[in-house]
């Protein structure tokens, strides 16, 4: 559809661009008339153009407002900050623009419009490709490119030579000896490319749909020394497509042996990440021999149709909590959520097995600092001087109420704060009731995404084909040339050669020149005189 039409009106045969029908309301045509009118309007270029504008405009809020698909936490924060406006925006689908019905409506209408335009054009183009090139116009000298030459050969020989010349250059050629002309056309791949481009876009959409239907994406946080087995229960979050079968998850597992992170030290980009790598012991399927692998940011682990990506990292301080009787009631490394680029990380520990129940909240700081404005915070992402700043709470954790709770948030309504303390690794803190909280050290954690997209190969193949089509449609020129012979002076043959191109700002002059000089000599003095036809 990306055709220019400056000269279309001159010769509609060179193009299969649908004619713009001014779709005035078909008064008195009944239901069928109205349906036809609606279909014509929908498949017109003008409607496609309007839908393209709408698609662009509809995408904008997707970048302005936080989106559930990419950043659910930010959406939640927005809703909490401004509930009234947030609710209205949410009702309108502004936090889920690309999954909203109105966005789908636009692109589905656009694709229907596209199909309704492109499919009839494909049929038309198929016929045009098999039809004979159009007959030569009567008066070739009125075409934009015209040459007249004189040949000593007979008219038939000139026509044969012209046909041979054009066929060897892969023109489609038609010869009419009786009327004395040759017609040839070239550059059908312009329209072919154009149609392929648009049809391939439809196939690409199918690939996208297939991927979201039959694929999945799951996230999991794994601490150093811990393992992950690829089953539904082990994911922290899991988003399957409607057609995804859980039992088809690849049966692999891996243990995170070591996570390495390096950061820029000094300079303007102090603290910028330079290197992340996760060394894992990978078991492709139960019973298989373990393999050592490294997962990096641009180097996912590929297993079957699934890929394991390294998407994040952080710190997990290790706490050992002993009650006043001396029994260990808690010993684990706790995943803390990074809050800023320097990995000031917020931590929550819940100890339900004591009476009263115990909870800790606070921060892990890889490079600890405290000031009046920011309080405890980290000044560098690497663990140069790690410390924790924790508050202890006693009371009811609320775990028995049945309401779902986040492991990253302590519900403190029914708890009282009993103390606050800063600790470095190896230090411990005795609470008023005799409970001892020991900060033993830390491990790193890495977050991984496991994803499968069965439609991505189809989408890629479609998009590659569509790009090839696009290049053809924009770069190939469609053009025609004609040769007419007539009797000249003294047994010679007058040869008129003319050409026409429809693509704007291109020319067939070179090809017309080449053909003309192959067929005869420029007529010296009579060249400018018109021979009577």
């Amino acid at each position: 559809m990306s055709e220019d039409v400056t000269e279309r009106t001159v010769d509609d045969g060179l193009s299969t661009v649908p004619q713009e029908v001014d779709a005035g309301a078909p008064a008195g045509f009944g239901v069928r008339g109205w349906l036809r009118w609606a279909w014509r309007t929908l498949t017109s270029m003008r409607t496609a153009l309007v839908l393209l504008f709408l698609l662009a405009i509809a995408s904008v809020p997707g970048s302005v407002f936080p989106q559930r698909g990419t950043d659910p936490a930010k959406v939640a924060a927005y809703l909490a900050d401004d509930p009234v406006k947030g609710q209205i925006l949410d009702r309108l689908g502004m936090f889920d623009v690309f999954a909203s019905p109105w966005f789908a409506a636009i692109y589905l209408l656009l694709f229907i419009s596209l199909a309704g335009c492109v499919i009839p054009r494909s049929v038309q183009h198929w016929r045009a490709m098999r039809a004979r090139p159009p007959a030569a116009p009567r008066n070739l000298s009125r075409l934009p490119e015209h040459r007249q030459v004189v040949s000593d050969d007979t008219p038939d020989d000139v026509l044969d030579a012209a046909a041979e010349h054009l066929r060897s250059r892969r023109w489609r050629v038609d010869v009419d000896r009786e009327q004395g002309w040759v017609a040839a056309e070239k550059g059908y791949s312009r329209e072919t490319g154009n149609l392929v481009f648009h049809l391939a876009l439809v196939v690409m959409l199918v690939g996208v749909a297939l991927g979201s239907y039959g694929g999945f994406r799951g996230n999991v946080v794994v601490r150093e020394g811990s393992s992950f087995a690829n089953t539904l229960a082990q994911f922290d979050s899991f988003a399957p497509g409607r057609g995804f079968d859980e039992s088809s998850l690849a049966p692999f597992s891996f243990t995170l042996d070591r996570f390495t992170a390096e950061f820029q030290r000094g300079g303007m980009q102090n603290g910028a990440a330079r290197e992340f790598s996760a060394d894992v012991t990978f078991v492709p399927e139960p019973g298989a021999a373990p393999e050592t692998r490294t997962i990096e940011v641009n180097e996912p682990l590929v297993v079957g149709g699934e890929k394991v990506f390294l998407v994040g990292h952080g710190y997990a301080p290790t706490f050992r909590i002993t009650d006043k009787a001396g029994d260990v009631v808690f010993k684990d490394s706790v995943v803390c959520l990074p809050q800023d680029g320097n990995f000031t990380s917020s931590c929550v520990v819940k100890v339900p097995d004591t009476t009263p129940q115990l909870g800790l909240t606070g921060f892990f700081l890889p490079t600890a600092a405290v000031d009046d404005i920011r309080g405890p915070h980290s000044t560098f992402p690497a663990a140069d001087d790690p410390a924790v700043f924790m508050s202890a709470w006693e009371g009811d954790l609320g775990l028995d109420s049945g309401a779902p709770q986040s492991v990253f948030k302590l519900e403190t309504e029914n708890m009282t704060r009993v103390g606050i303390e800063a600790m470095r690794p190896g230090e411990s803190w005795t609470l008023p009731d005799g409970t001892v909280v020991a900060f033993e050290g830390y491990v790193r954690f890495a977050s991984f995404a496991v994803a499968k997209d069965p439609g991505k190969e189809l989408a890629l193949a479609a998009v590659v084909i569509s790009m090839a089509g696009l290049a053809l449609s924009l770069l190939v020129r469609r053009r025609r040339v004609w040769v007419r012979v007539s009797a000249g002076a003294a047994g010679s043959t007058l040869v008129d050669v003319a050409g026409l191109t429809r693509s704007e700002h291109t020319t067939v002059a070179d090809e017309v020149d080449e053909l003309a000089s192959a067929l005869g000599e420029p007529a010296a003095s009579t060249a400018d005189q018109e021979e009577p036809a």
Partner: protein, 340 residues
């Protein structure tokens, strides 16, 4: 790997030196344009729509046989025919020579920036900007080798200077190694193509703007009315030529821009596990793509040709510019490693 500070310093100095040369070139281009005699606007071709309407009538009269009588008015600027040094020609030549010098200096600056960290020099917005400025100038100068496009010079040099000015002031980032997300050979492919597209879209936008001025000047002159752009339009090629140049640039770049997005998607699939996630950068790249697609469609839709199509191409370019600067400044997303 550490940074070679000597080379990084040298690179900065070369970029500053090139800016001085570009400034000189700008003045020369301005002088050249001011001194050019200009053409007679009344000889300008009728607007496209009117011409094709007339052609349609003729075609109908001839029984669908294709007939066009085209009056080509060759009004190349500066090719003063017999006079070897038409007004403005010398200044134009100086401008081109100085621009070559500036571009060589800038090219060396980009090269040394890359050598100082031993990687492709487009890992942040500063590097992207200086490389884009280099690509814009080089594209223009290569065209200038084959055609007389001195009239276009000032409209190319000014965006180049703006881009460099922003680069050294707002966007400047010390030479350094890359964040892990960028360590991929896709950086070289994806970003290099985005740079080429950015450079070309910039030139196409300049041409579209000039078309709008020139077309209006021709129309107003025909109506006998005055217009502020008449003086400028006289020194430019006729509007249909400007429109055609802009179209050809975009038509050539649109498949490449498609490829830039696809290359980005392939890289995203490999780095983040999904090829399309509506990250703000992706969203605006898509909006830009849709904008240029709309431009190409508008050119073959009745009632949208000419000025309206040109406005669409300017809006699409605005989307590209917003995607480059705005997205990194206003939104946070996965592409937020520009160093701003």
């Amino acid at each position: 790997m550490s940074t070679n500070e000597t080379l990084a310093q040298l690179s900065n100095q070369l970029v500053y030196a090139s800016m001085v040369a570009y400034a000189v070139s700008t003045v020369s281009f301005a002088a050249s344009l001011a001194a050019t005699k200009g053409r007679d606007l009344t000889q300008a071709a009728a607007p496209v729509s009117r011409r094709s309407a007339k052609a349609a009538e003729t075609a109908e009269a001839e029984g669908s046989v294709l007939v066009v009588t085209r009056i080509e008015t060759e009004t190349g600027i500066g090719d003063g025919g017999s006079e070897p040094l038409a007004p403005g020609r010398r200044a134009g030549n100086i401008a081109i020579s100085v621009m070559w010098l500036a571009t060589i200096l800038l090219g060396a600056g980009v090269l040394f920036r890359g050598l100082s960290v031993m990687r492709a020099p487009w890992g942040n917005m500063y590097e992207f900007s200086i490389t884009t400025a280099f690509a814009i100038s080089l594209t223009y100068l290569i065209i200038a080798l084959r055609r007389d496009v001195r009239w276009l010079g000032i409209f190319v040099v000014i965006p180049v200077l703006l881009s460099l000015g922003l680069a050294v002031t707002v966007l400047y980032t010390e030479a350094a190694q890359l964040v892990p997300a960028l360590k991929s050979y896709w950086l070289v492919i994806h970003v290099a193509i985005a740079i080429i597209c950015g450079a070309s879209f910039c030139v196409a936008a300049a041409l579209s703007s000039l078309y709008l001025i020139s077309e209006k000047a021709e129309r107003r002159t025909a109506e006998g009315r005055s217009y502020w752009g008449t003086g400028l339009a006289k020194r430019l090629p006729e509007s249909t030529k400007l429109d055609g140049m802009s179209y050809r640039t975009i038509a050539f770049m649109f498949p490449l821009w498609t490829f830039a997005i696809v290359a980005g998607a392939i890289w995203a699939e490999n780095a983040w596990g999904r090829y399309w996630g509506w990250d703000p950068k992706e969203t605006w790249a898509f909006i830009t793509w849709v904008g240029y697609a709309a431009y190409l469609h508008a050119r073959s839709t009745a009632g949208w040709k000419g000025r309206k199509a040109a406005y669409i191409s300017l809006v699409a370019f605005a989307c590209f510019v917003f995607n480059y600067f705005g997205v990194n400044i206003f939104f946070s997303g996965l592409h937020s490693y520009g160093g701003v």
